[in-house]
Subunit: 444 residues, 2 copies
C-alpha cells in the first residue's frame, strides 16, 4: 500500500527567539545531534526518522511560501512541497494538500494519507505508529483514525480524546478541548489520551469533506481562491463532527518542543556552539550560533541563546513568557536560509548594509535587479559564474563585481562560494528586488 | 605652583571580559553617564574630573604602546603620553615618566608630581585631595606624601598604611601588605588607612632615587635600556624605605572597579545598549555593545555583557573567578579603538577577513602595505582622500578601491568615513603590515 505522509509545517516561532524569527521557524533550528556527530533540525530529524521506518513513503510538506527555501536547503528535493498562498488554519491547509495530492501528484482516492505535525520530538516507534494509522485508514477501518498519546501528566496545553475502551484501537467516545489542571486530572481518570494532531484517512474521504465545505473545482481553483477561505481548524471542521472515528493509543516518547524550557529538556548536551561553562553552573543550556564565545558562570536553571538576531538569557521557567518581548522587537532579519544557501547581515548603516552570502555547490540565486541600490560583491572563497546584464563571466575568490542599480545579476556556485555584498543606497529593503524568469536570451 | 599629575594606565583587563581584552583595558570602556547623557570611560571620567578641579594641571598618562591609540581616541591631544617600551612594574615606569617630564617636558626639579592610578571611581573631592597632596610635596612638607583612604570594610584586596596620629596629615608609622580578613580587622582597629596608590613628591626627589637604583644618563638612555630593567614596584623600591614620609587621609568616595561585581555597583542604570529586561529580573546589570538586542528574563544577581569579543553571563559573585576562563580563549581581536577611529572584525573565513573601519573626521591611518594579502575597500559613508602608491584621489560613499599585496595605501577622512575592508590571502595577520614614515615624495 502506498503511504502518503503530510507534515504540517507552520508557525513563526517567536517562542524560541533568537534562534527562530519571522522567517525561521523553530523546526529549522539545528540543535539535535545526529548519529554521526552533526547537528540536525526538527524537520531534518523527523524526515530522517520517516525515511528510516518507510523509505518508500511519499512525504509532503504543507507550508507557507516563506519556508520553501529553508525546506529545500535542509531536505533537498526529496519531499514534495505544497505551498499555501497564505495562512488559513488547518482545515483549508489540509484540503489544499489533499487537492494537490489528487490533482498534481495523481494520488488515487483509495490511498491513505496521514497528517502529522512537523515538530514532535519522538523516536522511530512514533512513525511506525503513523504507518499503522495509515494502514488502518487504507483498509477502511473507519473514516478517520487518529493517534492518542498516553498522557504522562495532567497537561493544560493539549486537547484530550476519550476512547470508548482501553484497547489499542478504540472508537472515540468524545473530544475535550484544552482543560484547566482539574479538568485534565478528571479526563485522565476517565482514560483520556492527548490529541497529538495525527490523523489518517483515505484521500477520497477528505476530498469529499473539502467539497462539502468549500466551493472549488480542482487544486488550481482552490489555490486561486485560497485567500478568501474562512479560517477554521481541521479538528473543528471535521474531526469532532465525524461519527465513524477511531483512536489508536501510542505510549512511546512524544514531546512537544514549543518553548525553551521543553526544547532544552530534549538537548542531548548542555551546550551547542562555542560555549564555556563554569563549574558552578547547574541545569544551564546554551545554544550559541555566533562565532565568538559565550562564557557562563554561576548560573542555575537558565537558558542562554545567541544568534545573529540577538541574545536571550532567561530563567527556564520564565522563558515561556517570551512572546510579548519578542513581538516588541522591530529589527531587520539578520539571517536566513535560502534554497541556494544562506545570508547573514553583518553590518547596518543608515545608507548601507553589508551581507555575507554563502551559495551551496551547484546552486544559484534568482536573476534579479534592484531599483534603488548599488551593490558591490567581493568573492572571498570558491568558484562560480556571475551573470551581469546577460553576460556570463567566471568568478573566483578575490574578484570584485560592481552592480549598479538597475543592472540584472545572478551568481551560480560551481563549488561552495562565499561573497561579501555591500549594498548602498537610501531606503535599502528586501522588497527592492525585481526578479526575471530566467537568464537573458544571450544566456540560453 | 605648576601641578603635574601622572596617571598610571596599565592592565590588560581580562577581568572585565568581553568589554576588555588584550588591547582594550577596562579604563577605556564607555560605561559611565556624563552629565549630558553620553557615555564616558573611566579614563575620560578621571581626565574630566581633573580638568574640572584644576584646568591648568599638566596631565601625563604613563602607559604601554598598545594603549596610545585608545588614549588619543578618547582624550584627544590634551594629555601628554609617556610610553613604556615594555612592562617593568611601577618603579621603572615612574622613573621613566620622571625623566620624561624633566628631559622632554623641561619640568623643573622643584615642581611637584602626583602619581595616581587611572581607574579609581571617585568624585571631584578626590582630585582636590590630589592637588593638596601635590602642594604639600611642592612646599617640602616631606619627601613623599601619600593618600590614605579611610577604610569602609576590612578588605583583603588593599595594602594598609598605619599613621602615627589621627590628624588629617600624619607621619607614617608603618606599611602593611595585603592582609587576610583577621589582619585587616586588626589594622583597622589600629587606625590603618588603605594605600590608594597616590604619591606626591618633587621631581628632583624621584630623579635622585631613580639614579640611585638605575644607571642612566637621561630619558632617552633610560628608554633605550628599559627592557633590561628589573621589575620592582614603587612601593617596595621607594615608599617603604623612605623615612621622611607622610600620609594625608581621604574620606570621600573611592571605589576600585576591578571586577564585574564592583563595576556594576557603580553603574547609574541597570542597562547600557539595546537591552530588554523582564519584570522578574532582580539586581541584573547588562552592558551590550552589539547592534542586536539582549533579552533578560527572570534573572537574579546577574551580569550580562555582550561585545564583538564574546558574551558573558554570570552570577555577580562568581564573576570574580573569570580570569582563567578568559585566559583560555584564543581568539582574534575583534574590536579596537585606534588614534584615527576604530575597527571591528565582522567576518572571518580561512583565507579572508572582513572588517568595518571607521575614521574620525580629519584623521588618517598610517601609510602602509601588506606582503601577503590583497584588500578591497568599499566606502559606505563619508568623504575623504585615498593615497595609493603615491597617488591621491578623492573618495566618497560607493567608491571601491582594490589594494593588491605590496601596494602602499592610506585613507584620510574629510568627514567621518566608514568603509568595509575585505582582506584576502593565506595567513592573514595584523603583523603583516609595513609602515612608511610619511606619504611618498609625490605627495609632499
Amino acid at each position: 500500500m502506498n503511504m502518503n505522509i503530510v507534515l504540517l509545517s507552520g508557525g513563526s516561532g517567536k517562542r524560541l527567539w533568537p534562534l527562530s524569527n519571522d522567517i525561521r521557524s523553530k523546526q529549522f533550528i539545528k540543535i539535535f545531534r545526529t548519529g554521526d556527530g552533526e547537528y540536525e533540525s526538527m524537520v531534518q530529524r523527523v524526515y530522517r526518522q520517516i525515511r528510516s521506518v518507510d523509505r518508500d513513503a511519499a512525504v509532503t510538506i504543507a507550508t507557507s511560501k516563506t519556508q520553501v527555501s529553508a525546506i529545500h536547503n535542509q531536505l533537498g528535493n526529496g519531499a514534495g512541497i505544497c505551498v499555501e498562498p497564505c495562512r488559513r488554519d488547518t482545515f483549508p491547509a489540509i484540503a489544499l494538500v489533499a487537492a494537490w495530492l489528487h490533482d498534481v501528484k495523481k494520488v488515487s482516492e483509495d490511498e491513505p494519507v496521514v497528517i502529522c505535525p512537523v515538530d514532535p520530538y519522538v523516536d522511530e516507534d512514533y512513525f511506525q505508529a503513523v504507518g499503522e494509522l495509515g494502514r488502518l485508514a487504507g483498509e477502511g477501518s473507519s473514516n478517520l483514525v487518529l493517534m492518542g498519546i498516553e498522557p504522562t501528566y495532567p497537561s493544560e496545553k493539549y486537547g484530550y480524546v476519550i476512547p470508548e475502551d482501553e484497547n489499542k484501537l478504540s472508537r472515540v467516545k468524545t473530544f475535550k478541548e484544552k482543560p484547566d489542571l482539574e479538568g485534565a486530572k478528571k479526563y485522565i481518570s476517565q482514560g483520556a489520551l492527548w490529541n497529538g494532531g495525527v490523523f489518517a484517512f483515505r484521500l477520497g474521504y477528505l476530498l469529499k469533506k473539502a467539497h462539502e465545505l468549500i466551493k472549488f473545482s480542482d487544486y488550481w481553483d482552490l489555490y486561486a481562491g485560497y485567500e478568501n477561505l474562512t479560517k477554521i481548524s481541521f479538528d473543528y471542521a471535521v474531526v469532532e463532527k465525524e461519527p465513524d472515528i477511531k483512536v489508536m493509543r501510542f505510549s512511546g516518547k512524544w514531546k512537544d518542543l514549543g518553548t525553551w524550557n521543553t526544547l532544552t529538556e530534549a538537548m542531548e548536551e548542555p551546550a551547542v556552539g562555542k560555549v564555556m561553562m563554569g563549574d558552578a553552573c547547574e541545569n544551564v543550556h546554551v545554544v550559541n550560533e555566533l562565532d565568538v564565545p559565550v562564557l557562563c558562570m554561576g548560573l542555575k536553571n537558565a537558558v542562554v541563546s545567541a544568534s545573529p538576531e540577538g541574545i536571550l538569557v532567561s530563567d527556564k521557567e520564565q522563558s515561556s513568557y517570551i512572546k510579548p518581548y519578542v513581538d516588541s522587537i522591530d529589527q531587520q532579519i539578520m539571517f536566513a536560509e535560502k534554497s541556494w544557501g544562506s545570508f547573514r547581515v553583518i553590518d547596518i548603516e543608515d545608507e548601507s548594509m553589508t551581507i555575507k552570502v554563502t551559495l551551496n555547490t551547484g546552486c544559484g540565486m534568482n536573476y534579479h535587479s534592484h531599483e534603488r541600490r548599488n551593490e558591490v560583491w567581493t568573492v572571498v572563497s570558491g568558484k562560480g559564474r556571475a551573470v551581469v546584464n546577460g553576460v556570463e563571466q567566471p568568478v573566483k575568490a578575490g574578484d570584485v563585481l560592481r552592480l549598479p542599480a538597475g543592472c540584472r545579476h545572478k551568481i551560480i556556485a560551481d563549488s561552495e562560494l562565499k561573497l561579501i555584498e555591500v549594498q548602498m543606497g537610501k531606503d535599502i529593503s528586501v522588497h527592492d528586488k525585481i526578479k526575471y524568469p530566467a537568464v537573458d536570451q544571450s544566456m540560453v
